[in-house]
């Protein structure tokens, strides 16, 4: 496996990543973006993984050594159409009082208890004003406060109000801002007085919309695309990290929408980004088989966004489709690949 390190003198502890034991999957991962969700439960020494296979999703939990403990498969709802239901994304939403597992598909949205044992809510997509040439689907999932936001094929973002417990979930609003299918949504807890932006939505045209969240969601600024999709986006301390279909990674100031960093990061489309928020580490994965880890920071003098490359990992002959950090310090990560029936794990600990 080819690995490239650009460790600076400030990061002696994070050097080589080595392969850890893989976790086998019942079904291979589908060629979707953001196709891995991880729920870390350090208090219970457990990590949950979610991977979309196609018409079904696999959930499994593993111990710190990667030994699988429990697994479950969730099917999308029955389709009345000929074409099989296709799940587009699976994601755990951590809300103030509960954790819900959300599935999006070409039929709609399903929300489950966090272990996938029980479906709490479902919402069918309205394909009313779709032209015949448009595929109808939901994609892009994020929790924001006590809301869960889900993107759709039309560019509308559905905002669901989630009670502290029980199934009384309500579609409370629809956000307009995009005209092309949503790809990903990122959010972070509101940072305080200065940092008002706490949600970013991205779409197939590369457009990013920056929002201040509820009870009323306000569109703060729009960052236009440049002809390629933005499949994955993250938000950290007012910094937007956006991965694009041409392999570029951009860092924007969320409050103003200004581009501060442009990285020629990958040779193929970026398919996943993840953050280790406690340490400001960013992970980028792409169809070029590479995973790169970056350290985000702000210049103490002028507050400008800065970035440093920490590590590059080549996942040989694997078109990566999902990647997530597995611990809060960003010292380990997991990767899924198209056609691969296992979750690959890497650690530098």
């Amino acid at each position: 496996m080819v690995a490239a390190d650009s460790e600076g003198p400030k990061e002696p502890g994070v050097r080589m990543f080595h392969r850890e034991r893989s976790i086998p999957l019942r079904g291979s991962a589908a060629a979707l973006c953001n196709n891995l969700s991880v729920l870390q439960l350090p208090a219970r020494s457990l990590t949950h993984f979610g991977v979309v296979h196609g018409p079904s999703t696999q959930l499994l939990s593993a111990d710190p050594e990667g030994v699988p403990l429990a697994q479950r498969q969730l099917q999308s709802k029955e389709s009345t159409r000929v074409s099989p239901p296709l799940i587009t994304q699976v994601h755990w939403c951590v809300l103030p009082f509960r954790i819900l597992l959300v599935l999006t598909s070409n039929l709609g949205i399903q929300m489950y208890e966090s272990d996938g044992s029980f479906m709490v809510f479902c919402h069918a997509l309205d394909s009313g004003d779709a032209s015949p040439a448009q595929a109808v689907f939901a994609r892009g999932i994020a929790a924001s406060g006590h809301f869960i936001c889900v993107g759709t094929w039309s560019g509308r973002v559905l905002v669901f109000d989630i009670p502290a417990k029980g199934p009384n979930i309500v579609l409370s609003k629809e956000l307009a801002g995009h005209q092309t299918p949503i790809t990903d949504i990122a959010s972070e807890p509101a940072q305080g007085q200065d940092c008002v932006a706490d949600m970013v939505t991205a779409d197939d045209s590369g457009l990013l919309c920056v929002w201040r969240s509820g009870p009323e969601f306000t569109l703060l600024t729009r960052i236009p695309g440049f002809g390629v999709p933005c499949p994955s986006v993250q938000l950290w301390q007012g910094i937007i990290a956006a991965g694009y279909g041409n392999g570029q990674l951009h860092l924007y100031e969320a409050a103003t929408g200004t581009l501060h960093v442009q990285i020629n990061a990958h040779a193929r489309a970026i398919c996943a980004l993840d953050l280790a928020p406690e340490v400001g580490k960013l992970l980028s994965a792409a169809e070029d088989t590479f995973v790169h880890i970056w350290k985000l920071s702000r210049n103490p003098e002028n507050g400008y966004i800065e970035v440093e490359h920490c590590h590059g990992e080549c996942v040989t002959d694997t078109q990566v489709c999902g990647a997530r950090f597995c611990d809060l310090s960003g010292s380990s990560f997991a990767v899924t690949g198209y056609d691969l029936a296992e979750i690959l794990r890497f650690s530098s600990m």
């Binding site: 060629a31 040439a133 999709p229 041409n246 200004t258 193929r268 002028n302 400008y304």
Partner: protein
């Protein structure tokens, strides 16, 4: 998910089928005057190719194909190719048809996976069509049919966005998911590993519109560049030389989708050298799914547009064997090794 995928799937798989049939028919070529009644001549070969190509590019059939619709099951699509392969006097036995379909699907899967940009699948399609026009260059009517399809492709796909092509790519890859049939020509060229997975090189030209990885640029509030840092990205990429042509005629640049069975085949030269030799060999077969009622209707509509020529007169169907001998069919893992050019 994309409802514009079926024409690309059909045309590219059809193109691969024609490459294989053409190669096998040439291998059986007997000079016309020396041929016995049951042997193939060059005239027979041209006739088979003409019959299949004109069926494939039938105008009504194409118009039905290009309507926005979901991809249907593998079983339904396989039936279309069974019919297409028998649109001439040529007959294939079940094992030959199975092998043909395996080769077609793995070839196109390889092409989709290796496409630098999602939009390049259109260039792959054009490569197939360019070659098909070469097969029927003596038949102006069929040539016209193919050109019409070419124009339809440009009309429908020419204006699609990068995002729509990414959706098409994902839809195609989902269709090909879990197919790991080993193909001897791929194994020999080291583009496929012995476990059936394709080699993804980390060298060569980047896609058109992508920069070579390795550069970080930082800007101030006014958009002025203030710092430039390089980082080691791990691959060995170079800039893309030029963009392939999306016109009716032109240099496609991309070699994916050209005829890899022809003698002077243009092959991708930059490949990673290592091929892993894993203990288990994965051989997958597509489990037959019972056709749903709706799929039968879809097929009936497609077939309705397809004019299948019945063999006229007292000629029997000519059998083409895609295997060297019947005994070799039983040889399991050695099968691929036995199939010389294929």
């Amino acid at each position: 998910m994309s409802v514009r995928t079926l024409p690309l799937l059909f045309l590219n798989l059809g193109g691969e089928m024609l490459y294989i049939l053409d190669q096998r028919l040439r291998a059986e070529n007997i000079p016309g005057d020396k041929a016995r009644k049951d042997e193939w001549t060059e005239m027979d070969r041209k006739r088979v190719m003409n019959d299949i190509i004109s069926t494939m590019f039938n105008r009504k059939f194409m118009e039905g194909l290009f309507k926005p619709q979901e991809l249907y099951s593998k079983k339904a699509l396989r039936t279309v190719y069974d019919r297409l392969a028998h649109a001439s006097i040529m007959r294939l036995n079940q094992a030959s048809m199975d092998k043909l379909y395996d080769l077609m699907t793995m070839a196109f899967k390889y092409q989709v996976l290796l496409c630098p940009r999602p939009k390049d699948v259109l260039l792959v399609t054009f490569n197939h069509l360019d070659a098909i026009k070469g097969f029927i260059r003596d038949s102006p009517n069929i040539l016209h049919q193919v050109d019409e399809t070419f124009r339809l492709l440009i009309e429908v796909y020419g204006g699609l966005s990068a995002g729509e092509f990414q959706q098409i790519r994902q839809t195609l890859l989902i269709f090909f998911q879990d197919l790991h049939i080993r193909v001897s020509i791929f194994l020999k060229d080291k583009v496929q590993n012995s476990n059936g997975r394709f080699v993804l090189p980390v060298c060569g030209p980047v896609p058109w519109g992508t920069e070579v990885p390795g550069l970080i640029r930082m800007f101030n509030n006014k958009g002025e560049e203030v710092k430039k840092i390089e980082f080691k990205h791990g691959g060995h990429y170079v800039t893309a030389p030029k963009e392939g042509s999306f016109e009716l005629y032109g240099d496609r640049v991309l070699k994916l989708g050209t005829n890899m069975y022809s003698v002077n085949r243009p092959v991708e030269t930059h490949m990673s050298g290592t091929s892993k030799n894993l203990a288990s060999q994965i051989q997958e077969s597509i489990a037959p799914n019972p056709l749903a009622k709706e799929e039968l209707n879809f097929l009936a509509r497609l077939m309705g547009g397809m004019e299948i020529k019945k063999p006229s007169g007292p000629e029997p169907g000519f059998w083409l064997n895609l295997f060297t001998t019947d005994e070799e069919e039983d040889k399991g893992d050695d099968l691929l090794a036995m199939m010389d050019e294929l």
